[in-house]
Symmetry: C2
Subunit: 300 residues, 2 copies
């Protein structure tokens, strides 16, 4: 069987189902980041993420935007745990025809992210690839989360309310390269809103909500008409396009009023929208979203 | 300028020369791993490393061996700091024609490493790539080192003696896929031999010794005839082939006798060889070794 005939989630399940982990590992495969014991006051977060030319960005795209995207995706994952980034490593795979100035501008884009979010580049590597290979930028690193802020995909309970930040859909028109990771907002949610579960939306809510619900051993009901749509986007776009990099999170029902009023005071420029509830009965009612393998190859 | 017209070291210098780092970062770009403050008794090591089809392995190679190599390279870098691996993340970039069984066997190879060296796989991802792209396996993660064992490239002093473990050259005939990272030996050297500097040999001693000497602000003198040669290898092979994954390390002169006698008792099956000295005068006398960009593309 070729990997184009399977789905990304099935492949990862097959590869990782029998893994054992050391005792210092608090959370392994399956959340936005791994979590390791660090010291009394902090846990370490670990994350790796990759963008590939023709898949995550077009060849003619500005390298500063590609660098921003590559690094901001990782920051978004640290945020989704209730934490923040500390140290990043940059691996770049380059065919020989790549212009050095392209690589320098890519690095500028990455550094815009590390400066804005106060983290350091501490290592990485460059490797060659055969002529005409796609450029690959893989960013990995560590972050920090206070134990009391740690918010997993698995913490949701039946009747918890499901929310998203911002608007969904149509990321392909530019947001997928320029999005602002919801770092401050995620830490605020962990500290102030008793968020029970959280993740960032990378593959579309049709793919990501079932993942969160499954981790929480819940089902879900959403009101499709309530989905906050980006300009010129349809419900279908909101469900399937992916790369929104907004937060998907749940809160206990009794937090609704206090969340909605304090949120607006704290973040007047970013909406949150109540889109549904977690339910007792584990059942998938959504289909779609971005899958790396279960579809024909197409450029972004 | 295309990157095929520069050298890897020059490109990395250009990209990273102005980086600032946070205070928790004890060692950033430029050593085998980055080092971060963890707690009173341990530092965290961070590392990322990538293998690319056609560059680091041939398409017809057994995927279990490719997986072993990809993970063992990272373990070798943790070892070179005097530490050990704790948690690894596996990113795999796959063209759609890849067979699922290939990926499963790759994972088996990676797991052979994590089992032998007692570390955990805690995350990663799979991403698609356009048809006929090279497969890319990027492994990153964290390790641990006791502060008193931390051994950097920069710790060498003039008149320190330069040693290598094992034999050098001809790795292409198989060792580059099957090598055993010198983890136990490196920790022993850090604990018992007062090793002043250390790194693992990945690009050939002609490339790596000048790097270590430069970090230590020293020059070096080596006796080429003393280089321990692998079977059927020449001095030229030992200098340039790369991918030996042996340890290059320095010790104070007065440690020579005690090192050589206790080493043989402790590791009777692995040689160490005194090949030269660090000197006061910073000067490069070696040329060659593997460079990802300063040469025409060729398969391994």
């Amino acid at each position: 069987m070729k990997i184009s005939q399977t789905s990304e989630d099935k492949l990862i399940h097959e590869l990782t189902k029998d893994l054992e982990t050391r005792s210092a590992v608090l959370v392994g495969v399956g959340d936005d980041c791994a979590v390791l014991r660090k010291n009394e006051h902090q846990h370490t977060l670990l994350k790796t993420d990759t963008v590939v030319e023709h898949v995550h960005f077009l060849s003619e795209e500005k390298p500063t935007r590609v660098g921003w995207k590559a690094a901001a995706r990782v920051v978004s994952d640290f945020a989704a745990m209730g934490g923040y980034p500390e140290a990043l490593m940059i691996s770049i795979i380059l065919p020989p025809e790549t212009a050095q100035v392209w690589v320098e501008q890519l690095y500028q884009g990455i550094q815009s992210v590390t400066e804005k979010f106060h983290c350091s580049i501490v290592g990485g590597e460059t490797s060659s690839a055969p002529p005409n290979s796609p450029i690959v930028v893989s960013i990995s690193g560590s972050g920090i989360v206070k134990p009391e802020n740690l918010t997993l995909r698995s913490g949701g309970k039946p009747s918890d309310l499901i929310y998203v930040t911002g608007t969904l859909g149509g990321s392909i028109h530019g947001k997928h390269l320029d999005f602002i990771p919801r770092l401050e907002e995620a830490i605020w949610l962990a500290e102030n809103a008793q968020a029970t579960s959280m993740m960032d939306l990378s593959d579309g809510i049709a793919k990501d909500l079932p993942r969160l619900a499954k981790c929480s051993k819940c089902g879900y009901e959403i009101d499709l008409k309530s989905l906050p749509l980006s300009l010129n986007s349809t419900i279908k776009n909101a469900l399937n396009d992916g790369e929104d990099y907004e937060l998907l999170f749940t809160i206990p029902e009794y937090q609704k009023q206090i969340l909605e009023s304090t949120w607006t005071e704290t973040f007047p420029d970013l909406s949150i929208t109540h889109i549904g509830e977690l339910t007792e009965h584990e059942e998938d009612t959504l289909e779609g979203g971005w899958d790396h393998f279960g579809q024909e190859f197409k450029s972004p």
